[in-house]
Amino acid sequence: MGLKLYGFVPSNATFRALVSLYEKDLDVEFVKVHMAAREHKTPQFLSRNPFGQVPVLEDGDITVFESRAITQYVARAYADKGNELMINNDPKKMAIQSVWMQVESQKFDIPSHKLAIELYYNVLHRGREVDEALVAEYKPKLESVLDVYEQRLKESKYLGGDSFTLVDLHHLPNVYYLMATEVKKLFDARPHVSAWAADILSRPAWVKIVSMLRSEGYV
């Protein structure tokens, strides 16, 4: 088939892309990029992604980078395989799906990613001292977003609509990392957010990613 995903463990962007391929039941070769050896800055890798970042998807003659462009490509190109990941037949529902896809990208991603890197990777995995100033800066920002999510999830089963879509999927890596840290309390304090998080984290495609993480010594 020729599907190749270049990435590394535990890159959240890599997992965002990889879980979409697993949701679609696709055979994909996961090609590890050796960041410590600066493989991502070699001319060969830069010809795949000029920004020198993971993940990159190769599907035959097409190369896609940016995790959310990869997931959307996969959802559309393989619409008839595996689980449905995008609503594509109702313009109003598609518009609402777009709104919440932007919300994850524009509002949720930065604070959740900053906290995940600090608390899950630096503190939990590397054993470093916590940067309290960073946590104090980003926790309130994440809380504001989760307050909006709590209201949204009172009215809608999933963030983008009444079924699981890329909107929810895009959250998986950061939500997973944060649940292993003190930030879990912020999710637990919001019953609809908490239930939604538990639901999406229990999906078989994500469980496959968790085994990969554990096999590499991550929590």
């Binding site: 000029p50 920004f51 097409i62 896609v64 980078f65 940016e66 959310r68 462009a69 959307q72 490509y73 559309r76 190109a77 313009p91 109003k92 598609m94 518009a95 609402i96 777009s98 709104v99 896809m101 932007q102 919300v103 990208s105 524009q106 509002k107 909006v148 209201q151 949204r152």
Partner: protein
Amino acid sequence: MAIKLYGVLVSTNALRVMACLAEKDLDYEFVNIDMRNKEHKSPAFLSRNPFGQVPAFEDGDLKLFESRAITQYLAHTYSDKGTNLIIHDPKKMAIVGVWIEVESQKFDQVGSKLAWELAYKPMFGMTVDEAVVEENEKKLEQVLDVYEARLSESKYLGSDCFTLADLHHLPVLKYLFGTKTKRLFDARPHVSAWAAEIMSRPAWVKASST
């Protein structure tokens, strides 16, 4: 009027939607939100955008927020009106999708910070933070170096025709070109030519001079 846009004319996010409405030749009503008096934090506005930010949008009974969701809704729903802003070929559209993400994830974050420091702060009588400017100009240069290489192989960012991938840049470009940051664009011939071209589009000229 069925289409309404709620915002302020100086907002880059509102301008992004206005650029798209102009390209699609769509009539709409612009409703000014009194941000100075915190109208964007009123319960009425929060019911349109729970994050209390401009713009908010409605088309009949459909209510939307987030400028890039609104532009994508317009591009798909009114695909037979005005300029075509998306591509129907799935492989070509996948590449457009890449550069739409690049604008959102790489360009906008640094571009907006620079626009805030150099264009908006002076408007509000606030002091410019030169350290922030220096840090973000360095980051912007790295992004523009990638754009320069891309635009030497492709007429527009996403493909060989103008799409949302280009349009989404227009509002931040408008503000940056009124500041010293313009020199970073001028120093890169393909980027400079691309910026000049898209900023001279009649729809943009109309939308940005309202």
